[in-house]
């Protein structure tokens, strides 16, 4: 069978079911064997206003959405207006025959106007609300996508509404499918998504799902959060699975409480997570320092959205980077990781909990709305739990045998001068900066952890020498992590030698990777360096790769080029170009490729 790679758009008003239709169609396509990448574009309101859903279906794995779409499924006349320009020259526009629409304009633009009496068919077999079913059936028909695949999804989606509703929808789907199939337009439309027999079953998941799976696989059993788009689905997924998996989830009164609860649970010994977006993260900055100072493991995921302030609540941005790297007063160790795609989101979640416990620090995962909400297919087996085995480092539970060095120098003696009565030094000075950690509850290890500066035993002190050593001990953990190879340098995508190198971080992995292909089509040999691990920064690995860069262009989703500045701060490397977007919409591969060409200009080739 021929390679397929088709993008389609469903456009309509909020409240019209654009997103559920899109998800349903994505699911049908995935089950039929396609690789899927779908994104939703919606507004921060419950009803009204234009929304759209873009689905890309291909016979090969795809890592990003891709313009231009070959089909527009217009649930309102407005959506034709809004999307027509961006469609492929030979695209089709499916819309309800009753729309007051200048079909001539569509045709003059070269696109195929396909009016279908969807509303009428829906009314005939049930009610107006079935119009979405008609629309999906029409699209399926035009694409020669097998009807029975749509039927299966319809059955599943409407099952809980009763047999009559199912039947009505099926009738609507069948009639619409048939009618479009026989229409002259269908014959003229050149894009096809036939069934792909023999393909394996795949998961269809968004980035937040992937992250949640990684978290539970890593043993995370405590989640405290306050709802905030686009992070809310993490709390919701965890809560939906709380009882069977034994996860304590707490929808807290605010984000201050959420992170403090997670820190309390982390102190007790749970693997604790706190999910939020930038505004909530702002409220968490003080407590981040508490975790840093008391060496309490905690994982915070900041699913970035369009800022500043309330900004663009349902849209994407990568503009919290420099904030997250430096959030909270004073210097203390932290980890910052920004997964590039769904698989990396899974793995990063697992790594985050290990790092938090091994290094006894807060770990921040930087995701964003694009990664969090984009749906993609993954083969079973792609989420490899065994790739990141659970490691707690120097942590033990009450009752478990003492850790090496736990009793410290002079420890174990009653009233010993250094170790205090319990002979246990929670914050012992160690060469690697990591002190043996006994979870609270052990009769041999009763201790305190203060947010004030403290001595090895955990008592508050302002003594100069202790302060210096304690500060150095804490900060040494970062060097230890780097020396232990915990932090990865950039991942290279594409050829080792290239004329142009894209430099990206976090969710831009997919779009930037796909841009390489487009650049190659333009005759430009390009590769990509992508960073997931941002802090502590594996500077040597970065510099090694950066030395080979001929012309570097940073690709990121923020106004001020935060990653570009970050690279300069950490490595001295100043990228030549910057392709950025800051309107809350995800950069698309074509746009990146064009941007890169513009930045490096005539210089290339």
């Amino acid at each position: 069978m021929r390679d397929q790679d088709v993008s389609l758009v469903i456009g309509g008003d909020a409240g019209q079911g654009v997103e559920s239709s899109g998800a349903g169609f994505s699911s049908a396509l995935a089950r039929a064997g396609y690789h899927i990448f779908s994104i939703a574009d919606y507004r921060s309101r419950i009803r009204g206003g234009h929304n759209f859903y873009q689905i890309r279906a291909a016979t090969r794995p795809v890592a990003s959405h891709l313009d231009p779409p070959a089909l527009l499924l217009a649930l309102t006349a407005e959506s034709v207006e809004l999307h027509l320009e961006s469609l492929a020259p030979d695209a089709a526009v499916l819309y309800d025959s009753s729309f007051r629409l200048d079909a001539g304009a569509v045709e003059r633009s070269g696109r195929l106007a396909v009016p279908v009496p969807m509303n009428e068919i829906a009314m005939r077999h049930g009610s107006k609300v079935m119009m979405n079913t008609a629309a999906l059936a029409a699209a399926a028909s035009l694409l020669r996508f097998p009807l029975q695949r749509m039927e299966a999804v319809i059955r599943q989606n409407f099952a809980r509404k009763g047999e009559r509703v199912v039947e009505g929808n099926l009738a609507v789907a069948r009639e619409t499918y048939e009618q479009v199939r026989r229409s002259p337009a269908a014959a003229r439309f050149r894009y096809r998504l036939p069934g792909l027999p023999g393909q394996p079953e795949r998961m269809l998941l968004h980035g937040n799902h992937a992250f949640c799976l990684g978290a539970v696989a890593a043993g995370c059993r405590f989640v405290a959060a306050y709802p905030m788009t686009p992070a809310t689905t993490i709390l919701e997924w965890m809560t939906a699975h709380a009882e069977p998996l034994g996860i304590v989830t707490k929808h807290a009164e605010d984000e201050l409480a959420a992170i403090c609860m997670a820190i309390g649970a982390g102190f007790a010994g749970a693997r604790a997570l706190c999910s939020t977006s930038g505004g909530g993260f702002s409220l968490m900055t003080e407590a981040l320092g508490l975790a840093g100072m008391t060496e309490t493991p905690v994982v915070v995921v900041d699913v970035q959205r369009g800022g500043p302030s309330t900004g663009l609540p349902t849209r994407t941005e990568q503009a919290d980077l420099l904030f997250v790297l430096h959030a909270s007063q004073g210097d203390f160790p932290r980890f910052v990781l920004a997964p590039g795609d769904h698989v990396e989101a899974f793995e990063t979640a697992m790594r985050a909990f290990n790092l938090a416990e091994k290094y006894q620090t807060p770990v921040v995962v930087l995701s964003d709305q694009f990664l969090a909400s984009s749906l993609r297919t993954l083969d079973f087996g792609r989420l490899r739990r065994d790739a990141v085995p659970v490691e707690r480092g120097k942590t033990r539970r009450p009752g478990e045998p003492p850790l090496p060095g736990e009793r410290g120098p002079g420890g174990g003696q009653e009233d010993g001068p250094a170790a205090g009565r319990d002979g246990y030094l929670r914050f012992a000075f160690t060469p690697d900066g990591i002190s043996p950690r006994v979870l609270p509850g052990d009769p041999e290890a009763v201790y305190g952890a203060p947010s004030d500066e403290h001595d090895e035993a955990g008592h508050i002190t302002e003594e100069i020498d202790n302060r210096k050593r304690m500060m150095e001990k804490r900060m040494r953990k970062l060097e230890t992590a780097l020396a232990a190879g915990e932090m990865r340098g950039p991942r290279r995508v594409g050829p080792a030698e290239a004329e142009v190198t894209l430099l990206a971080w976090g969710s831009m992995l997919g779009p930037a990777s796909e841009a390489l292909v487009l650049l190659e089509r333009e005759g430009v040999r390009a590769n990509l360096l992508h960073w997931c691990d941002l802090w502590p920064f594996a500077g040597e690995a970065a510099e090694r790769e950066l030395r080979r860069v001929r012309r570097g262009v940073v690709v990121e989703q923020n106004y001020s080029g935060q990653f570009r500045r970050f690279l300069r701060m950490t490595t001295g490397y100043e990228a030549e170009g910057l392709v950025r977007r800051y309107d809350g919409r995800p950069l698309e591969p074509g746009e990146i490729a064009r941007g890169v060409l513009k930045e490096v200009g005539a210089g290339v080739r």
């Binding site: 890593a218 707490k250 102190f267 609270p440 509850g441 052990d442 008592h459």
Partner: protein, 314 residues
């Protein structure tokens, strides 16, 4: 009903499921001591609270490693540093959520919150409000000295109107919080007031609180001899009346509300209100049905269960 009568009386007795707690375990006062010397001003009311807490734990037979004292930031919040017990000295205003998180992760340990009036009713007011209705099994000791002491004498949420402080040189113009009434309105299930000048009596109240099923608020009148020259030991002593000896019935919500209105010539101490009808929050958390989080292995999600999660996504 006295503490000892009620000990062991079912769910509300605060005992661990396995009966690990209880008197007569060979614990001595020395077990709760450290070599750390308090930095409080000599005569500070916090000494009485420290003594009372140690005494209450000893009498209840709760060993130092079986409890965690979570505090905020302020003079009184240094308390865990001065006794042998697990301590978590957190942020100004945030001990309640930290303690809640601890309790939900490890309901087998006793979680005691110690903080100041600034922590509890000022900056931490929102957590307090929601803790009252949430009812987690926490004992909350508020060292209420009606002043911000560690920052050297600004008015606090409980400072009486008209008091001159560095942030109210003409006298404070805010009406003070009534912690008892606010807690009652917010749904607290155990609401009491104690006095740092009577450590024995205070220890008894702390023991009552330790026997409570859910959230127990114990507002403690604590003289600050350095920055609060109004509400002194004598001032309190002259005004204190005992709810118990005045025949107050702590199960009577309306009576509690009425008595909570008194704070002036007469200041009632003792238990205003108590009900064991409301389950502790952790008793109802679905995720805890499989037991305390910290006692389960990290890898208790087996291959089949994980695959089932993946399959939900097909």
């Amino acid at each position: 009903m006295s503490v000892d009568q009620r000990a062991g009386a079912g769910r509300g007795d605060g005992r661990l499921p396995d009966g690990r707690h209880g008197p007569g375990r060979g614990l001595t006062a020395r077990d709760y001591m450290t070599e750390q010397r308090p930095t409080w001003c000599p005569g500070c009311g916090d000494f009485g609270i420290l003594a009372a807490l140690r005494e209450a734990l000893l009498q209840e037979g709760i060993a130092p490693h079986e409890a965690v004292v979570v505090s905020g930031i302020g003079c009184g919040s240094k308390l865990p540093d001065y006794m042998r017990v697990n301590g978590f000295m957190t942020l100004h205003g945030r001990p309640l959520p930290v303690a809640t998180g601890f309790r939900l992760a490890n309901p087998a340990m006793r979680v005691i919150v110690v903080d100041g009036d600034g922590d509890a009713y000022g900056i931490g007011g929102n957590h307090w409000l929601h803790t009252c209705r949430r009812n987690p099994g926490l004992v909350h000791l508020v060292e209420n000295n009606q002043i911000y002491a560690l920052t050297k004498g600004q008015y606090s949420p409980t400072t009486e109107q008209g008091t001159r402080t560095t942030t109210s040189p003409e006298g404070s113009i805010e009406r003070p919080v009534n912690p008892i009434r606010t807690a009652l309105a917010a749904g607290a299930t155990f609401v009491a007031r104690g006095f740092a000048g009577e450590p024995k009596e205070l220890a008894r109240l702390i023991r009552e609180a330790l026997h409570h099923r859910g959230y127990a608020l114990l507002d403690i009148l604590q003289p600050c001899i350095t920055y609060n020259k109004v509400n002194t030991y004598d001032w309190y002593a002259e005004r204190i009346v005992r709810l118990e000896s005045e025949g107050h019935d702590p199960s009577d919500f309306d009576a509690a509300w009425a008595r909570a209105g008194e704070f002036g010539e007469r200041i009632p101490v003792g238990v205003f209100y108590r009900t064991e009808e409301v389950p502790a929050y952790e008793e109802r958390v679905p995720g805890l049905k499989r037991g305390p989080v910290v006692e389960r292995p990290l890898d208790d999600l087996d291959e089949a269960a994980f695959e089932a999660l993946e399959r939900e996504l097909v």
